[in-house]
Symmetry: C2
């Protein structure tokens, strides 16, 4: 049973952030959740396991490589947040084609050989979708909870059954759904729902989970993610911090 | 050599639409290109090979299943466009986990056993990314050209080297790059570059291909895609038709 090789205890709270497909803002939400929790005083670690696009280091402004001491990976630290990304170990432009046994070995090493120290919460940025890479990682997590990031399109709710099926298969509970790019705030403060409405609420109902909130489509969110700076300076993250 | 089992001649022009990651609007662009070419008088076929998210039938308003005559798939027709999707043959909510030999067989059948009839142009909606499914499909195409859909973020240009590497590996030439969600038009007609600027042009330069144009982030594009209606009624597609 794949469950037997779950990783040893890392932190009291372990939240894996997932999405049905790429481009919905999963990594952006992970980076901002990490900041929001750190800002509230928690000791936070982030493991970037999105093998198809490692963007957490950039979004958290991490420019240094983690170090290896006695065969253990010591995370990089930025704004008090500990960060380990599989991307640190892959040359920048090489297409990561992780397959089967190589992937299993790399993931296990990332999850067992990191000296996280004393952290309260570990956030894990999962690969998008519910393919075998995502399932492999999810199966190794002990008592993790899943947060699903989606966009407002009703079609996005279609992925619900796949995420729920994955959560069941890997013994994870779905903590909640965060809807991203929910609306664009016009100069007159009215809202335009560019991608439609209610995809997040429909998804939360379908997987019996809580709807955790909406995040606006806002240029400042993208600028903060591109420069690795904290959203808090832009004061846009109030929505996210409340989550 | 995988090239030996390329598909027989389908149409004079074969364009495969790809993207570095999901959620950039690849299928939306494919559907709108199909309409733009059909509107200009060409006989167009669309093969939806995006095994991770079959959205072409919905976007082209196709509600009927294709039929099987003498073991050949006869495409569904909507607004004069012939459509075949692997999604027709997969139950709606079942997570498609196509692997290895099963996938090869399904793809080959879709590409050789369809009675396209006399078409001028075949558009092929590839799966997002440059993983082995995408490469498998691309290797079966005879003289196809690749169009890459991207969004404006500079990070999106990172996928360039992977798309170029894929094109080289599969003997496809990169026809050009289309940038989608380039800007949001405010009520006063000024433009807000929500996702940044120039990712498309940077990508086109990196892969030595033409920059084919920008498509705005516009609610009407999403509404047309969700209802399977033609953008032309919304007169938003002028940009796309010019491409
Ligand atoms: N709410 C938002 N407003 C504006 N841009 C956003 C928002 N969320 C994400 N983005 C941008 O969209 C792009 C995709 O986000 P990312 O987090 O990389 O998605 P994913 O991890 O789901 O692939 C990034 O350029 C990011 O900056
Ligand atoms: N230019 C655009 N403006 C507004 N919405 C768009 C635009 N392009 C795509 N969309 C919407 O974004 C979502 C993702 O598009 P889709 O074509 O499914 O992406 P992909 O095929 O790359 O995964 C869809 O809901 C679509 O309607």
């Amino acid at each position: 049973d794949a469950k037997d090789d779950t990783v040893p205890h890392i932190a009291d709270k372990l939240i894996a952030i997932s999405s049905g497909k790429g481009g919905v803002g999963k990594s952006t939400v992970t980076a901002n959740l990490a900041r929001a929790f750190a800002e509230s005083g928690m000791k936070v670690g982030v493991l970037d396991a999105d093998v198809y696009g490692f963007s957490i280091p950039r979004m958290l402004g991490v420019n240094v490589q983690p170090t290896l001491i006695d065969d253990m990976i010591v995370p990089a630290i930025s704004d008090g947040i500990k960060v380990v990304s599989m991307g640190f170990f892959v040359p920048d432009d090489s297409p990561v084609v992780w397959r089967g046994p190589l992937l299993h070995k790399a993931i296990t090493q990332f999850m067992t050989d990191v000296a996280w120290g004393d952290i309260d919460l570990l956030l894990l940025d999962l690969p998008p979708g519910t393919g075998d890479v995502t399932i492999t990682i999810a199966q190794k997590l002990p008592k993790a909870q899943l947060v699903v990031v989606t966009t407002p399109q009703p079609a996005a709710a279609h992925v619900a059954s796949r995420v729920a099926a994955m959560a069941e298969k890997t013994n994870l509970s779905v903590l909640g759904v965060i809807e991203n790019m929910s609306y664009y705030v016009l100069p007159d403060k009215s809202r335009e729902y560019v991608f439609g409405r209610d995809g997040g609420r429909v998804l939360a109902r379908k997987v019996n989970a809580e709807f955790l909130g909406e995040i606006p489509l806002d240029k400042r969110i993208r600028e903060a993610a591109d420069t690795g700076s904290s959203l808090f300076e832009a004061k846009v993250a109030d929505d996210i911090a409340e989550i």
